[in-house]
């Protein structure tokens, strides 16, 4: 299990062009290989990873590793996801000039960029499904009719307000997420 975690997360680290959210998409993509984590659990993990200081991808890897195989699993996943980037960055730091000025390297990296957008959009779908089609709707304990709806309307409102606050008004994402978590705790799911 540990060797598998290291291998799977090394693959993720090696393919993780485009930073944090692209890696989160890759992690969910690979979870099926040792599948003990549901889509809702994964959405929880990513949400917690986003409000914990530090890179969201590392946090998610650590958490998924822990859920899969405890403390050693967390260490294996974190080590695996960081290893390829470590090797590649160290090599690049040695020969920065040749690397960054080669037109072929530049072309290849430019070619990958649209794939990164696709990867992050995939992460969005993965995270949105359990939030919008949740089993227990937010506020269903207060207004019973909410539970009968096909989607979770309060979650959608929270999501839209978050987009406006962070995207338009440039509010601190950490503060906004904590605030929305508090609102969720007050409204409740039962």
């Amino acid at each position: 299990m540990l060797v598998k975690l290291i291998l799977v997360f090394s693959k993720i680290g090696f393919l993780g062009f485009g930073g944090g959210m692209a890696i989160v998409a890759l992690i969910f993509d690979s979870i099926q290989e040792f599948g003990t984590i549901s889509q809702t659990q994964f959405a929880d993990i990513v949400a917690i990873a986003q409000v914990t200081p530090g890179p969201v991808a590392i946090n998610t890897a650590t958490f998924v590793g822990f859920k899969s195989a405890g403390l050693a699993g967390a260490a294996a996943a974190t080590f695996g996801v960081a290893l390829p980037a470590f090797i590649l960055t160290a090599i690049t730091a040695r020969m920065m000039k040749q690397f960054s000025e080669s037109p072929l390297v530049k072309g290849g990296l430019a070619g990958i960029r649209p794939a990164t957008v696709g990867m992050i959009a995939t992460a969005l779908v993965t995270l949105a499904k359990p939030a919008i089609f949740a089993e227990q709707h937010l506020g269903a304990g207060l207004v019973e009719a909410l539970q009968g709806l096909p989607v979770d309307p309060v979650s959608i409102v929270i999501c839209v307000v978050t987009i406006v606050l962070i995207g338009k008004y440039k509010k601190n994402p950490f503060v906004v997420l904590i605030f929305m978590g508090c609102i969720g705790a007050v409204i409740g799911v039962y």
């Binding site: 393919l15 390829p84 980037a85 160290a90 072309g107 990958i112 696709g118 949105a128 997420l177």
Partner: protein
Amino acid sequence: MIPILRESMVNDRKWFSEEEMVDILAICQSLPGVIAVNMATYVGFKKKGLLGSLVATIGVILPSFLMILALAMGLSYIADNPYVLGALAGLRAAAVGLVVVAVWQIGRNVIKDWLTGVLAVAGFVAIAFFDVSVAYVVLLYLIGGVLNAYVNVRRIEKGGGEDAR
């Protein structure tokens, strides 16, 4: 995370100039992996070689590693608490909003013309709806980018030759 790193390395420690920092950031963004961790590796290597990069990388990962461990362990004890469940539902919904903003911001920077737009949508559809492995998509796009650059280089060389004649 990246503004903190920049502030600490350019203004506080004066290890790098603002221009060097821009270069470092561009390189670390183009490599696979988490940008903040790449920056730690890169800066560590520049200051103290391989050992320096190792120490810097561990240093940047360790605090969040420990925090997530504490959270993961603590959370399993209170996972059934109704307030925790509500808070997680609120967080999940807000996290989706955060990713929407990320897709928008990155998409706006990457999608410059119809070709990059089509490629981005095609990549998304292939991964999300046809279960194509991300590895194949990344590899295919990488090869496409290199070929495109190769053809461009050849064309410029050829074009220059014709001008000379």
